[in-house]
Symmetry: C2
Subunit: 315 residues, 2 copies
């Protein structure tokens, strides 16, 4: 496809167009990903997540300056939260990253969730592939971590960074929720706020207690306003990368990710197949009527329908 | 099954045990739901969702007193949020509802998410069936609405109530996120806080603008501390129920829900089937290796695998 050729040549407009096609789940997007896939795997992927208001966008903004000093090409995907409660309020925050708009080696793309969670997660993965094939050295995925789905998106990263702010008295309760199993690096942002020191101690205790991995996540304090800690954070990211690249751990991690991708794609194909096979059929309508009349329960009905349809021969 | 018989006879211990089995996805839980299903459909289901801190538990606590005056039997399912960031902090809030613990006609159950979102959503539905068959007149599902999944759980209700607090300047942005398509009733709780009046006006404008349904959601102000507005809220719930029961709209709504349930169950069965068929097989391992070597992309791999396995003959 021409768009793929142009993209691989470094045409930013082709990249932007391809991203839109993937984001819109355009019919051609499958073909694009297929053609682009052999050129992927070079970019290092950083996931940054954390609750709303923890200052992720400002932190990324600072981090990009640091990375650019090493002449790295950067792609940023800012995924909008799925929450209908925090929906619109995040975009304003993202404006901070637009400082880099004039730098042609930084590509920033916002993606918002429309409908299915699987959709956004698929699309994000696709866009990572595009930026990777385009020649970005670093791809940053920013998610506003207010739910499992955002954490799932962040898991597509090689290094996952959890951004928190100094915690109040409920830090122990945050602990309970198993949050410390997510990150490879923990950032305490806005570290000039009261409680940063205690938070660091608390988080370190949690990490020592919870951590069964060979990599012990470091805790970095940052103050984005004064650009404190950004360089240190970047050093920790590079340290984690070196850790991953030793013993082929990165390759294993990515193979696991591929495995999960394949399973997810199979599920989606089958889902579509089921939908197309049974929706609107008399058999399905009758089954629903039987459920309404309490003659059969939904699970038993599902099993009966599956026994009666043919799911082989996929496109 | 004996447990089902005991439950139908009104044995609270049998109910509690059955709920635990469903919550734990116990092997027998399928059979329990199957046997219980013919006895469901009588309870009216109320979903209450809203951001953390909007005072949902206190509001439910008040609402239960009002309902109890009409001698209604009540079941409450408090679903813990899926967010690893707000995880533990909600439980304390729920303590407020324990005032009703000595009232044997009020059954309160907390459910927390373990792993899969589909899991909690399935389990919640199962527990609603159990409470319904047990003879509860009203089942309340409380979710902390910080993500799509919580909203999905709330959609299992006949009447969905969105609890907000007086909004600050970002109310217009909340509007954008399509939040107003969710509720049948909007509550502005903590209405003694500044901004309640303006919020009510804003929300009403949003509802008039967005609403294409035949039911126009009313906006109710409540102050749980002084028990203001609870009776009014209950009247609005009853009004919505009468609206649903007219023209068989409730039956249609529930039939749609059954349809969605069947589709979801089919997906889950197939997912398990795929998992059991391919995991650990040489064919799957080889495919992953091919992906790692960039010889095939994950989506094409998924299609090839699906073509090669047999998904018929489900238990």
């Amino acid at each position: 496809m021409d768009i793929v050729k142009d993209l691989l040549k470094g045409d930013r407009k082709a990249l932007a167009r391809a991203i839109s096609m993937v984001d819109n789940e355009d019919l051609q997007s499958k073909e694009i990903i297929k053609e682009i896939f052999p050129y992927t795997g070079k970019a290092f992927i950083i996931g940054i997540t954390g609750p709303p208001g923890s200052g992720k966008s400002s932190l990324i903004n600072r981090l990009v300056y640091v990375m650019r000093k090493e002449d790295l090409k950067i792609g940023i995907i800012a995924v909008d939260p799925t929450s209908p409660f925090t929906g619109g309020s995040i975009l304003g925050d993202r404006i901070r990253m637009q400082e880099h708009n004039s730098d042609k080696n930084v590509f920033i793309r916002s993606m918002s969730t429309r409908g299915s969670l699987g959709g956004i997660s698929n699309a994000t993965r696709g866009v990572v592939h595009l930026l990777d094939a385009f020649g970005k050295d670093i791809v940053i995925i920013e998610t506003v971590g207010v739910g499992q789905s955002e954490v799932d998106i962040a898991k597509n990263a090689d290094t996952t960074i959890l951004v928190l702010t100094p915690l109040s008295g409920d830090s122990v309760q945050v602990l309970k929720a198993g949050i410390m199993e997510i990150p490879d690096i923990v950032v305490i942002n806005k570290a000039d706020l009261p409680g940063a020191g205690i938070s660091q101690t608390d988080i370190n205790i949690m990490l020592d207690f919870k951590n069964k991995r060979t990599w012990r996540p470091p805790v970095v304090q940052t103050i984005t306003l004064n650009d404190v800690g950004t360089q240190k954070l970047w050093e920790e990211i590079k340290k984690h990368r070196r850790f991953l690249e030793k013993d082929d751990y990165l390759a294993k991690l990515r193979a696991e990710r591929h495995q999960k991708d394949v399973l997810l794609f199979m599920e989606n194909i089958i889902k579509t197949k089921i939908w197309n096979t049974i929706m609107g059929t008399a058999m399905f309508e009758e089954m629903i009527t039987k459920i309404n009349n309490k003659e059969i329960d939904p699970l038993s009905a599902a099993q009966e329908i599956l026994n009666s349809i043919d799911l082989t021969n996929h496109e």
